[in-house]
């Protein structure tokens, strides 16, 4: 075991700072009358900003790609890209949360504290280079999310969602851990690079133990990214959770799970690429078909977005499936764009939602184009992006996810992908129909007065369009920070 140099700890400074902010908020929330939602939000944003600066700073400090802290973590371009992405997603979630938490009447400190701790977990996880450190970070993220989902503790739906999420989440974590333990039994290591080397040996002997191990590991990860058939928790949790939390789960949690799925599959399970490609192809196909078809009949926007999130897990899995450079950067680019347009879409739900859960059914959007043309236009952009139509980042990202699959010879999966994505037009357009094509009886704008949130939504819309028209620099960014394709090195 290599000795740990003290300065290596500094490389995890962003995570430490974020954890400190999180815990400080927790304490502040319990003292006296607690901390107000706005104050806590500002504090969280400061924490996130400091963490972002530190992430950029660590880039200059480390030898990129070298394992640190006894091989538990690694600091490479891949990890840095995702860390920044998680921080952005969390910051946007904070903007979504301010008014909701304020009006919910619950203690604000705990909420933001959990948000920051979940983000800390994500950031640690994506740096993880050992299945043990990955699992622990994953649990930090998951446990924080369970509580966040049940944050409206007097709401029955919120409770139900939290419990469901917890039970199924714990089950999946158990499966994941069991898979890890079997892999350990088969290979005698948990570090990703060594795991990959041992597996290369193991497959030569047709080892059953490691096969069961990696399949269970994969199942646990598919659960986290909400891919079918491991998606059953998604709709209920998405509907029951406070809307900003739903957005956070749909974006940050999903992105983090994909980030680590890719790292494990590409670096740890690299020798098994032929095997796991078949599994990924099946799961991706099922997710795209089931997610899109089930979304067709939904009338609750959050539920619809939940199924759409399952479908998106399917599209994004195409990038994993391709197992080539295009797939990898397309996946990273797509999740970047997805962050903005999905959180934007949830933001509009939040804005409409204020009066007793109004704004959750599709028909609440009736005549929105007249009542709030700006908001409707933004929502239109988000829906076009979700469908994958230009000029949005959703279009460009999706094109390259499909492109990667075609390049890798998985044409039939790409065909299913484009056809199901055409189906998705139908349900996304049902919201557009309400906004633009129907008139509502209400004439007064019912929107929440939340200038910060409106600004955040506008920002998301602008970024979505920029990512669609000028994706170049972001593609370069993703390309420069992709993982080395491990099987090329083997």
């Amino acid at each position: 075991m290599t000795p740990i140099a003290p300065q290596e700890f500094w490389l995890l400074l962003p995570e430490m700072v974020l954890a400190i902010f999180g815990m400080a908020l927790l304490i502040a929330g319990t003292m006296g009358r607690g901390i107000g939602s706005r104050m806590a939000a500002v504090a969280s944003l400061v924490g996130l900003a400091v963490a972002t600066i530190l992430v950029v700073w660590t880039q200059g400090q480390a030898t990129m790609g070298a394992p640190i802290l006894a091989g538990m973590f690694v600091l490479d371009g891949y990890a840095l890209y995702w860390k920044v992405l998680f921080l952005i997603a969390t910051a946007l979630t904070v903007f979504l949360s301010v008014r909701v938490i304020e009006e919910g009447g619950y203690r604000a400190g705990e909420y933001y504290s959990l948000l920051l701790l979940a983000t800390t977990g994500m950031m640690l996880m994506v740096s993880g280079f050992n299945l043990l450190s990955i699992w622990i970070s994953l649990e930090l993220m998951a446990l924080s999310s369970y509580i966040l989902v049940g944050y409206f503790k007097h709401e029955r739906r919120s409770n139900e969602a939290s419990l469901k999420y917890f039970v199924l989440g714990a089950l999946s974590s158990g499966i994941l851990l069991y898979g890890i333990s079997l892999l350990y039994g088969a290979t005698n290591t948990l570090a990703l690079p060594e795991l990959s080397r041992s597996l290369a040996q193991a497959i030569l002997h047709g080892d059953l133990l490691s096969a069961v191990g990696w399949v269970l590991l994969a199942v646990g990860l598919f659960f986290k990214v909400s891919a079918a058939p491991f998606h059953v928790w998604t709709p209920d949790v998405y509907v029951g959770a406070p809307t900003p939390v739903t957005g956070y789960l749909a974006v940050a949690s999903k992105a983090a799970s994909f980030a680590i799925l890719v790292r494990i599959f590409y670096q740890g399970l690299a020798p098994l690429v032929i095997d796991w490609q078949i599994v990924v192809a099946a799961v991706a196909t099922l997710s795209m078909i089931w997610g899109n078809i089930a979304a067709l009949t939904q009338t609750n926007v959050k539920r619809m977005l939940a199924y759409s999130s399952i479908a998106h897990a399917g599209y994004i899995l195409l990038g994993v499936l391709a197992a080539n450079e295009t797939g990898l950067w397309a996946l990273m680019f797509y999740l970047l764009a997805y962050t903005f347009f999905t959180l934007g879409a949830f933001g509009t739900v939040v804005l409409l939602e204020r009066r007793e859960y109004a704004g959750e059914t599709v028909s609440d959007y009736a005549g929105l184009a007249r009542r709030a043309p700006f908001l409707a236009a933004c929502m239109l952009i988000f829906l076009l992006a979700l469908t994958g139509l230009p000029p949005t980042g959703g279009f460009f990202g999706k094109v390259y996810l499909f492109a990667a699959a075609i390049e890798a010879g998985w044409t039939w999966v790409a065909v299913i992908g484009v056809l199901t994505s055409a189906i998705s037009l139908y349900y996304y357009m049902s919201i557009v129909v309400q906004m633009y094509l129907k008139d509502s009886e209400e004439t007064t704008p019912v929107l929440m007065r939340a200038p910060g949130l409106a600004l955040a939504i506008g920002f998301c819309a602008v970024v979505t369009v920029i990512l669609g028209l000028l994706p170049g620099i972001f593609v370069d960014l993703a390309k420069s920070s992709i993982l080395p394709l491990a099987w090329n090195l083997l």
Partner: protein, 532 residues
């Protein structure tokens, strides 16, 4: 006189002028009255048309294949570039788009009474999308315009359409989207085959690029089996757009429900994007597959001609009749293109323009009378020629143009197509001729029932004849019909080079045979006769 055109990025100006207009309306015309928005939008499309006219004069008939080139970096990471350029065929289609755009916007003044501001914004965005499709020389850019354009059209049908507008709008959107996403897979397959390679097919190792002439260049290197698959997905994309039988079912719904201007643009320009796709991509890039599938392609075209005509004959609604006549006419265009020789493609391209003019005008005319009587049922009319003599005259001219009477544009197009088709396989032409006869039958029968006979319905008494604004957008179309009918030579001249190029690409043996003769072959002679 038109040299300045070469000094400025003329294509970008034409393409984005409507977009700029839409943005101005969106941002700066808050609370402005509808009349001002109307006038402003009309001014924008009119200026756009005026700016596009110099293309006709400055385009060198014998010069480079693609002219007015604009080239800039766009998404370097994937090799997509901002490439604009037009050949003779695209020039004609760009002019058709700007020309019909003016007519469509003018016709909306009275037809659109609600949510005018949004209407004109979508109308202008649609113009930009369509123009971009015809100008793009980069496949990725092309695809962006191709899809972007669906959104405003969806809104035009969905907001200002008839009673079943929601159904028609989503049907239109879904059909075309299914086609275009499949086409996208074909584009990507070409892209990878040209560069790093497709798993299982290998690749050519060229730099990553979406540049369309690059794909033309490698056409002979693409293995026929790969060509076959790419052709199939392209075919779905383009055939839905054209629409070819059996992909046509969205068209009657969309046409009947769309507002008049929407139908004009739909029939006049949108459908041409499909035929343009065949001419620009399928034929020259995938020649082996084209020839392999030729009997099927021609068969579907012929079925479309006959089926469209027969169904049109049974229609009681004028707009639906015109819609089905489009299926038949577009079948003609496709058959001409699939004859894969100079005369056929010449005729096909010219007929694209002709169909845009005459069917566009028919929709405008139906719109005129619909605004007065709020019905499109043929049975509600009869004998109105006495009330609206001017209207009846123009309707007659356009009807005759549509059925292909000599001295009018339809004749030139159909005749040239038949010459080409006859040269390919004589009995295809025989079947196609039946379509012409049927076309004359349903159009004249409709005309007779609407305009002649006694004026039975009292509501039709005292209908106003065409007003100045209506004449202003109808007469130029009539003039164009006569121009093409009497002196089509300039039109054949401008498309000569690109058509030769396509024939050369898709059927080099035929092209070589023509060249060996040292003089134009039999069908070229016939074309020459027609031209004179």
């Amino acid at each position: 006189m038109f040299d300045w055109v070469l000094q400025v990025p003329i294509l970008s100006i034409i393409c984005y002028l409507p977009l700029a207009g839409a943005v101005i309306i969106m941002l700066f015309m808050r609370g402005t009255n509808n009349l001002a928005i109307q006038r402003f939008a009309t001014m924008v499309v009119a200026i756009d048309f005026v700016v596009s006219v110099p293309l006709w004069f400055a385009f060198e008939r014998q010069g480079e294949l693609f002219q007015f080139r604009e080239s800039a970096n766009w998404i370097e990471a994937v090799g997509a570039r901002y490439e604009f350029g037009v050949d003779g065929i695209a020039v004609l289609l760009v002019l058709l788009t700007t020309f019909l755009g003016v007519a469509a916007v003018l016709s909306s003044w009275s037809a659109i009474q609600v949510r005018e501001k949004e209407y004109y914004i979508f109308m202008l965005l649609l113009q930009t999308g369509m123009l971009g499709v015809f100008m793009a020389m980069d496949f990725f850019l092309f695809y962006v315009f191709w899809e972007v354009m669906l959104v405003p059209m969806y809104f035009l049908i969905g907001i200002w359409g008839g009673p079943r507008r929601l159904y028609a709008a989503i049907k239109f959107f879904l059909y075309t989207l299914v086609g275009s996403v499949l086409m996208l897979l074909g584009i990507l397959a070409l892209y990878f085959y040209n560069s790093t390679g497709l798993m299982g097919w290998g690749g050519l190792g060229n730099p990553r690029s979406f540049f369309i002439p690059q794909f033309h260049e490698i056409s002979s290197q693409i293995p026929p089996d790969l060509q076959f698959w790419i052709f199939l997905v392209f075919f779905v994309g383009f055939a839905i757009k054209v629409p070819m039988f059996p992909f046509h079912t969205w068209l009657p719904d969309a046409h009947v429900e769309a507002p008049t201007a929407g139908s004009v643009i739909l029939a006049g320009v949108l459908l041409k994007m499909g035929t343009y796709g065949f001419v620009r991509f399928s034929l020259p890039i995938l020649p082996a597959a084209t020839i392999r599938l030729l009997p099927w392609l021609a068969g579907l075209s012929i079925v479309g001609i006959l089926y469209g005509a027969l169904v049109a004959m049974a229609q009681k609604d004028m707009k639906k009749l015109v819609a089905y006549s489009s299926v038949s006419h577009l079948g003609f265009v496709m058959l001409g293109i699939f004859s894969l020789n100079t005369a056929g493609i010449n005729g096909g391209v010219l007929q694209m323009i002709n169909h845009g003019l005459s069917t566009g005008a028919l929709f405008l005319l139906v719109g005129v009378i619909y605004e007065r009587r709020h019905t499109r049922m043929i049975a509600d009319y009869g004998g109105i020629s006495s009330e609206m003599p001017l209207f009846a005259t123009i309707f007659m001219v356009i009807t005759l143009s549509s059925i292909g009477l000599p001295t009018l544009n339809g004749f030139i197009g159909e005749f040239t197509i038949l010459v080409g088709v006859f040269n390919r396989t004589w009995w295809w032409a025989l079947l196609a001729v039946i379509g012409i006869v049927l076309g004359a039958a349903y159009m004249l029968w409709m005309y007779q029932r609407v305009f002649f006979g006694p004026l039975k319905n009292p509501e039709n008494k005292g209908l106003d004849d065409l007003n100045g604004r209506e004449l202003a957008y109808l007469l130029p179309i009539v003039a164009m019909c006569f121009w093409i009918g009497l002196y089509p030579k300039p039109f054949f001249e401008i498309m000569e080079k690109p058509v030769d190029y396509i024939v050369q690409k898709v059927d080099p043996e035929y092209a070589a045979a023509v060249a060996d003769d040292g003089e134009p072959s039999a069908d070229a002679d016939l074309v020459a006769e027609v031209e004179d």
